[in-house]
């Protein structure tokens, strides 16, 4: 705990450095530096610990834990599940990402109303539970390589849909995901933009979420990150755990193949 507090103070100091210093190295180098500095004190660790106890705790109307939740590798198997999501699930007949799958488990095992949780704003109510759960589950795949499956026909279809959605230009600014994330070595302001169409950019970008986001002091899931992308794209509102966001997850996840997961990461 002491080290995380020190880490946060150091991070604040770095954030306050004059731009002349920042300009001498790329943003990526700067970010890598403060990630290394905080390696022992990423506040995401607190979410991971909380997530592990939430996974095992009997909760919800059915007073059940999530220990029988199947994340794709069999009921209760958490290790290695994150780097193989999104994938097709036979029980729901859907391709699901981590968060849509958690909604299914919370509804089926614990008796929560998945629709209500999906409508809850980020960081509130059961969305806070999901933040901790995704930190725990992703942490159990740390340093493993992404291997998002493409063996089922629906997984293949979702990849192609994800690609279409990624390149879809719309809104008053004519932006698509590709406007920012379709080429190597681009920046918005000083922020480096990973090229999500291939490796290594896809692994770096997709593999960074969930992450503790210093600027908002919260753990952000991939769903929350995508929501903010769409806000900045000036698109209509993407539903939480909706198929468009899952399809993008398949597109980015498959493109990340062999990239190593560092989630839950630390972001500015």
């Amino acid at each position: 705990m002491k080290s995380s507090l020190f880490g946060l103070a150091a991070l604040a100091a770095i954030a306050a450095l004059p731009l002349t210093a920042a300009a001498q190295k790329t943003t990526a180098e700067g970010i890598a530096e403060y990630r290394a500095m905080l390696a022992d004190g990423n506040p995401a660790e607190l979410y991971e610990a909380k997530g592990e106890s939430l996974w095992k705790e009997a909760r919800g109307p059915k007073k059940a834990s999530l220990e029988k939740c199947d994340l794709g590798k069999g009921p209760g198997v958490v290790k290695g599940a994150f780097v193989e999501l999104p994938r097709f699930f036979a029980d729901t007949q859907r391709v699901q990402d981590l968060e849509s799958r958690l909604l299914t488990c919370m509804e089926q095992l614990q008796g929560f109303n998945a629709g209500e949780i999906a409508k809850t704003r980020f960081g509130a109510g059961e969305q806070k539970t999901i933040e901790s759960l995704v930190a725990y589950i992703s942490g159990e795949s740390r340093d493993l390589a992404f291997n998002v499956p493409q063996s089922h026909a629906k997984e293949k279809l979702m990849y192609e849909v994800g690609k279409k959605v990624f390149y879809l230009r719309g809104g008053p600014y004519d932006f698509s995901c590709a406007s920012c994330h379709g080429e190597d070595n681009k920046r918005v302001r000083l922020q480096d933009l990973p090229n999500l169409t291939k490796q290594p950019g896809a692994g770096v970008g997709f593999g960074s979420w969930p992450a503790y986001r210093v600027s908002s002091g919260d753990l952000w899931s991939m769903q929350r990150r995508l929501n903010d992308c769409y806000r900045q794209q000036r698109f209509p509102f993407p539903g939480y755990a909706s198929d468009a966001t899952i399809a993008l997850g398949v597109y980015m996840g498959v493109n990340s193949k062999a990239g190593v997961s560092i989630a839950p990461a630390l972001k500015r």
């Binding site: 932006f175 590709a178 000036r234 698109f235 209509p236 509102f237 993407p238 539903g239 909706s242």
Partner: protein, 219 residues
């Protein structure tokens, strides 16, 4: 099942049948299946929020072609026809005055706000210019999606924007700000005038930032 039979069955039973066929054989989906599934996914996934209505997902002809190209260059003929159609939308300044205040233009270039779920209708938007371009030398926090615009006017020999020899550059710059796709079919640049992101006076001010010899851009 023979081909004709399969076709008839597909059109009759629609997407449910497509899904069943897809599940039973792990072959790659056809482009038509992908298009249908994408339309369904978009419809079920997005909803209007504030001023961001669902029509924002319906691409015009330019966006349609560029979305389908998925990052690859367009066929030359198609690109030309898109550029011509966009060129027709460019409106020149109503009073013939092309340049406003570069100081106001700098504020617009810095401002990345506007047209999101939480913005109100009728509010003045920013130009987000620094998100993608280097412009003034003093600003270090600039993006690189677009080319550097530092010394934009100077490099193009504009010493008096009102002169006859500067006219082609002045017209081009106005047109580019109004509708960038008039010059590059799949440009990443928003169509500031055409999409009513910036109003005529704001475009004059950004014009001054780029072309006024006294602007920090040309120092």
């Amino acid at each position: 099942m023979n081909k004709t039979h399969a076709k008839a069955a597909l059109s009759a039973a629609g997407i449910a049948m497509t899904a069943a066929l897809l599940a039973s054989c792990a072959t790659a989906p056809t482009p038509q299946q992908v298009d249908e599934a994408t339309q369904q996914v978009l419809k079920s996934s997005f909803s209007e929020q504030g001023i961001a209505k669902m029509d924002r997902l319906a691409p015009d002809a330019s966006n349609q072609a560029c979305s389908e190209a998925a990052g690859k260059p367009l066929d030359e003929k198609l690109a030309k026809s898109i550029e011509e159609a966009n060129m027709k939308t460019v409106k020149l300044p109503s009073d013939g005055k092309y340049l406003g205040s570069w100081a106001e233009g700098e504020k617009i270039a810095q401002n990345g706000r506007g047209l999101t779920w939480t913005d109100k209708p009728g509010e003045a938007n920013g130009g987000s210019c620094y998100n993608c371009h280097q412009i003034s030398k003093a600003e270090l926090s600039f993006g690189s999606i677009g080319p550097s615009l530092y010394n934009y006017g100077k490099l193009r020999g504009v010493s008096d924007p009102a002169s006859a020899e500067s006219k082609p550059i002045v017209d081009y710059t106005w047109g580019k700000l109004w509708n960038a796709k008039a010059y590059n079919a799949c440009s990443d640049m928003p169509r500031f005038g055409h999409a009513a992101i910036l109003n005529e006076q704001q475009i004059r001010d950004v014009m001054a930032l780029l072309l006024d010899p006294n602007s920090p851009v040309n120092k």
